[in-house]
Amino acid sequence: MKSLRAPVVANAEVAPGIWSLWFEHPGLARACRPGHFLNLKPGPGPDPLLRRPLSVCDVERDRLRLVFRAPGRGTALLAQLRPGDELDILGPLGRPVRLPKRRTVLLCGGGVGAAPLLLLARRLRDENRVKVFLGARAAEGLILTREFSRLRLEVGFATDDGSHGHRGPVTDLVVKNVHPGTGQLVYACGPLAMLADLARRVKGAEAWGFFEERMGCGTGICYCCALPRKGGGYTRFCQEGPVVRLDEVEL
C-alpha cells in the first residue's frame, strides 16, 4: 500500500475548534465506505512523525470531506491547510460497516463524532429507517445539523446545558428509541464515556461504536491500538474495527 496525494479544496472552522476539510481524489471517493478511515500525515518530515486517523465524513462525486477536532499539534497542522495544499493520505483503512437492509438504525453522535455518521446515514437511508441523535455540551458544538436535515431523517438533539434540544446526554434519546427485540441497530461515535454509557444502557439492540482515537500505524502491524476484549485479550481497532460491537469490549 502506497500513500496517496490529493489537493485540498476547502478547509474551514465550522464550530469552535472543529474543522471541515474537503479534498479531491476520485479513487478514494469511489473506494471509501462508511466506517473506513484515512490516515493523514500532518506535514512532511519526522515531526510530527505519525499519521492522524480521521474517518470519512462524506463523499460527493470526486470529493471527500473530513470533519475533525484540532486539539493537538498534528491536527492543528491539518487545520491550517489551505485550498491547493496537498494531503498525504494512507487509505482507505479499517473494515467498513456491513450495511443492513430493512432495519431501524439509530445513529448516535457525540460532538465531532457526528462526522462518520453522515456518510453512514447517506448510505443507509434508502433501504432502512434511520434516526439520528446528535449531542454536544452546548448548541454551538452541534455540527452537520443542516447536512443531516437535508437527508430528511428524523434528527434529535441533546445538549448538556439544554441550549438546544433535550437537556442531558444524547444517549437518553437513543435509549428512549430502543424497542427490544425488533432488530434495531445502533451505530455510535463520540467520546469513550458516551460509548460506555450506551453499552451499559442499550438493551435489546445491537450496538456498535466507532473507535479511531489513538493509533500507531493504522494498518494493523504495530499492535499499538488496543481495546480490552471481554473474556481477555485486546482488539486492534485499526484492523478489526474501527467499528466494533460495544458488547464485545470492556469500556
Binding site: 519526522p46 500507531g216 494498518t219 502491524i221 504495530c222 488496543a226 481495546l227
Partner: protein, 301 residues
C-alpha cells in the same frame, strides 16, 4: 554492484534491508513489500501466548515514539501451527524473534522452531517493556553469553542477538554474544522512556515504554560504529532508519545489514523504499561490492 546479497552463516539474504521485529507483524499485511526485502523479522514470540499491555500503548514525541505493546503474541504453538505456514510462503527470508522470561525459554523456542521453514532466529534479550524480563538478560554480558550458547546448541541456522543500550555498553554484550556463538548482533533495540499525562501519572498503560524513530539515529549509529569495531561477527544496524541515506550511514559505520522499524508505521512501503534508495546511492558511489561501503567510516584513505 551486480550481487546485492548478504550471507549469515551460509544463509543468503537477497539484500541487506530487513523489517525490524515488532513493527511488521509477521510480514503478512503487506506481502509485496515483504517480498522486496532481504528478509523480515517477526514480532517477538514467547512460549505462552501474551495479551500484551493495556492501552494506551503508544506516545509520540518530536522525531519518535514510545511504545509499550508488551510482547502481545499468539505464543509458540499457535505461531508455529497457524501463522508460520503462511509466513514461510512469503518468498522472503523469515527470522523469528524469540523472547523469554527465563533463560531456558530462548533455547526451547529455538529448538522447537528449528524444525520449521525459518531462515534463523533473533534473540530478544532487550525488550524493555516487560516487568521482569528482557532488559535484565540483555544488560548482563554473562547472561547474554549463556543464553546465546544454549540457543546456538539447538540450531545450525543463524542466531542473531538483539542488543540493548539501556544502561549497558553494547560492546560488552556484543562480545559476550560473539563468545556464545552468535552469527550477528542487532544494534540497537528501543531505549527506555517515560511519558507522563497532565496529572503527572504515567501516560502509557504499561507505564514505561521503548523509544524508537529517527530521533534515535545518532545514538544508534554511534553504537554500531563502536560494536562493529569491537567484534568479528556481522552487525545489523537498527534505530531510526527512514530512508536510503540513513541505511547507507549504518553500513558505513560497519553494519552488514540494517533493519527498518518505526518508518513502516508511517509508510507501509518504507523498508522497500529504504532498499531502493540505498541501492541507488551505492550505485552512484560506484561501489562494486558491499565491502566497499561497510565500515568505511573507520577506513584510512
Amino acid at each position: 554492484m551486480k550481487n546485492h546479497s548478504v550471507r549469515l552463516r551460509g544463509v543468503e539474504f537477497a539484500n541487506p534491508v530487513l523489517a525490524a521485529s515488532g513493527t511488521w507483524e509477521f510480514g503478512l499485511r503487506f506481502k509485496a513489500v515483504s517480498a522486496r526485502l532481504g528478509g523480515v523479522v517477526t514480532k517477538g514470540i514467547t512460549v505462552e501466548p501474551r495479551a500484551g499491555n493495556p492501552g494506551p500503548r503508544i506516545f509520540e514525541f518530536p522525531g519518535g515514539i514510545l511504545n509499550s505493546v508488551g510482547l502481545e503474541n499468539p505464543g509458540l504453538e499457535r505461531f508455529r501451527d497457524e501463522v508460520l505456514p503462511e509466513v514461510a510462503a512469503l518468498g522472503t527470508r523469515v527470522i523469528v524473534n524469540v523472547a523469554g522470561f527465563e533463560p531456558g525459554e530462548f533455547d526451547r523456542l529455538v529448538g522447537e522452531l528449528d524444525r520449521e521453514p525459518v531462515a534463523g532466529f533473533e534473540l530478544n534479550l532487550s525488550c524493555p517493556n516487560v516487568g521482569h524480563g528482557g532488559a535484565a538478560f540483555g544488560q548482563d554480558p554473562k547472561l547474554v553469553e549463556d543464553i546465546t550458547r544454549r540457543a546456538r546448541a539447538r540450531t545450525d541456522r543463524p542466531v542473531v542477538v538483539k542488543l540493548t543500550a539501556n544502561f549497558t555498553d553494547p560492546v560488552a554484550t556484543a562480545r559476550a554474544a560473539e563468545a556464545g556463538g552468535a552469527d550477528a548482533v542487532t544494534v540497537i533495540n528501543t531505549l527506555f522512556g517515560l511519558a507522563l499525562n497532565a496529572n503527572g501519572r504515567p501516560f502509557l498503560g504499561g507505564r514505561n515504554g521503548g523509544m524508537s524513530g529517527p530521533a534515535l539515529k545518532p545514538f544508534a549509529l554511534y553504537c554500531v560504529d563502536r560494536v562493529a569495531a569491537a567484534v568479528g561477527i556481522p552487525v545489523i544496524g537498527c534505530g531510526g532508519i527512514m530512508d536510503g541515506r540513513d541505511a547507507l550511514d549504518f553500513l558505513s559505520a560497519g553494519a552488514a545489514l540494517v533493519q527498518v522499524g518505526t518508518a513502516s508505521l508511517v509508510e507501509p512501503d518504507a523498508a522497500a523504499r529504504v532498499w531502493t534508495g540505498l541501492r541507488r546511492l551505492c550505485r552512484d558511489l560506484g561501489a562494486e561490492s558491499w565491502a566497499d561501503i561497510v565500515g568505511r567510516t573507520r577506513r584510512e584513505d
